[in-house]
């Protein structure tokens, strides 16, 4: 029996969706919900990452733990996370196929030219969990560079990848960056606009670094002399407000935030697709709340 005034009806509108990048608008919800989802996407969505490295041979210029650290940071495709247990929860003794994936790296340099050891050389035992190499669109060599070898140098390594979350170590974070910002609410005072000279209008439009406004030389009823071209480009730098103050018209424009609309940007490492990250975050939020609910009921009974 909800005793809340009116339950919210959140809405989602996807603006852009790519392999590793997504922007969408989440609206009609509170900033704490948006922030909770952002925090979960960064720290609590599980992925696979190399966590145990057994080095059989390393004659490269980088020392063992240096290379192990780099191996841990390589993003591994983690679309099948539901199949894996956390190693600490697994019924096996040390490792098994249900909680880990084995990788091998075996490269030696025989010829005179330098040999780049990259993520392409990292061989996985599982078809589902593979290193994410640079995408095909980026210029330069493919594969993430691990170490460079000279003639006579070699590296032979057995690496075990395990399931984990960003809370434990940043290598498990599926996300390169998640941000959200308020949707800008920019309004012009038409009466004040009419009071400006043409030069002042142009100065005002020019003061915005991201071209939120447009100046129309021949104004029509549909397109007044100062028009808001794209409020979404606003960065709240307040240069236009400063300009308006300078011109003696402080109420010329109001720049505010719509405090129930959030523009999310999700950029992933490639381990997961951005929509998978967000859906996983929602599921994790529900799981946390469910667990808390049950524990509350138990506490109530005792």
């Amino acid at each position: 029996m909800p005793s809340v005034a009116h339950p919210r009806q959140p809405n989602v509108e996807i603006l852009e969706l790519r392999e590793d990048y997504m922007t969408f608008i989440l609206s009609k919800t509170d900033v704490s919900v948006a922030n909770a989802l952002r925090r979960i996407m960064i720290a609590e969505v599980p992925t696979m990452a190399i966590d145990l490295v057994e080095i059989e041979d390393n004659s490269s210029v980088l020392h063992d733990e240096f290379i192990s650290h780099r191996l841990g940071l390589i993003p591994l495709s983690s679309h099948q996370m539901k199949k894996f247990h956390y190693t600490r929860d697994c019924s096996c003794q040390v490792n098994c196929e249900n909680c880990s994936v084995e990788f091998s790296l075996n490269v030696s340099c025989m010829d005179d030219s330098a040999r780049d050891v990259t993520s392409l050389d990292l061989i996985s035992r599982s078809h589902d969990v593979q290193p994410v190499h640079n995408d095909e669109h980026s210029r330069g060599a493919q594969g993430i560079l691990i170490v460079k070898l000279r003639r006579g140098q070699g590296i032979r390594v057995r690496a075990i990848a395990k399931k984990g979350t960003g809370k434990e170590h940043a290598k498990w974070s599926p996300v390169a960056t998640v941000t959200f910002q308020y949707d800008p609410d920019v309004r012009l005072n038409d009466v004040r606009v009419m009071e400006l000279t043409e030069q002042q209008k142009q100065d005002f439009v020019g003061s915005c670094p991201t071209k939120v406004y447009r100046y129309n030389e021949q104004p029509t009823p549909q397109h007044p002399s100062i028009e808001i071209e794209d409020a979404g480009k606003c960065m709240y730098c307040m240069e236009c407000k400063k300009k308006a103050d300078e011109m003696g018209k402080p109420d010329l424009v109001s720049v505010n935030q719509k405090n129930d609309r959030f523009i999310f940007t999700v950029e992933t490492t490639g381990a997961l697709r951005p929509e998978e990250v967000f859906l996983s975050a929602l599921e994790i939020l529900k799981l946390k709340l469910d667990f808390l609910h049950r524990q509350m009921q138990e506490t109530q009974l005792s």
Binding site: R8, I14, F24, T29, D30, S32
Partner: protein, 124 residues
């Protein structure tokens, strides 16, 4: 030789200890219809949304949360309600409402994905 000899294991940030309870309820001795809940192994992610949702409840007179120390992963929620309700009821309702809201967002997002992707199946 390790610089982090005193640091606890990282998994202690989210795994309950052996004798640790997720929720500890403490009734307030001086104020009627008020209580504190200590939620273990959780942080601002849950604390802030719980507090926000409690404040939307008409029967809630006071609701606040804090993380007493950043090195200890728990938070405390303090709730005071009108005599017609109790803090336990209020927090239970808030949790339920948050679960519904999360489900709604999930539905809306999945619907948007279908729309964006067209008739092509989602590959999850």
């Amino acid at each position: 030789e390790e610089a982090w000899m005193n640091a606890p294991d990282r998994f202690e940030l989210f795994t309950l200890g052996d004798n640790e309870k997720k929720v500890v309820f403490t009734k307030d001795t001086k104020v009627r219809d008020a209580a504190s809940f200590i939620i273990a192994k959780e942080d601002h992610t849950l604390g802030n949304i719980l507090r926000m949702q409690l404040l939307r409840d008409k029967e809630v007179l006071f609701a606040g949360y804090k993380v007493p120390h950043p090195l200890e992963t728990h938070f405390v929620v303090k709730i005071q309600t009108t005599p017609t309700s109790t803090p336990m009821v209020a927090i239970q309702n808030s949790i339920s409402e948050l679960i519904s809201e999360a489900s709604l967002i999930e539905e809306r997002f999945k619907a948007e994905l279908q729309r964006k992707r067209g008739p092509e199946q989602m590959y999850m």
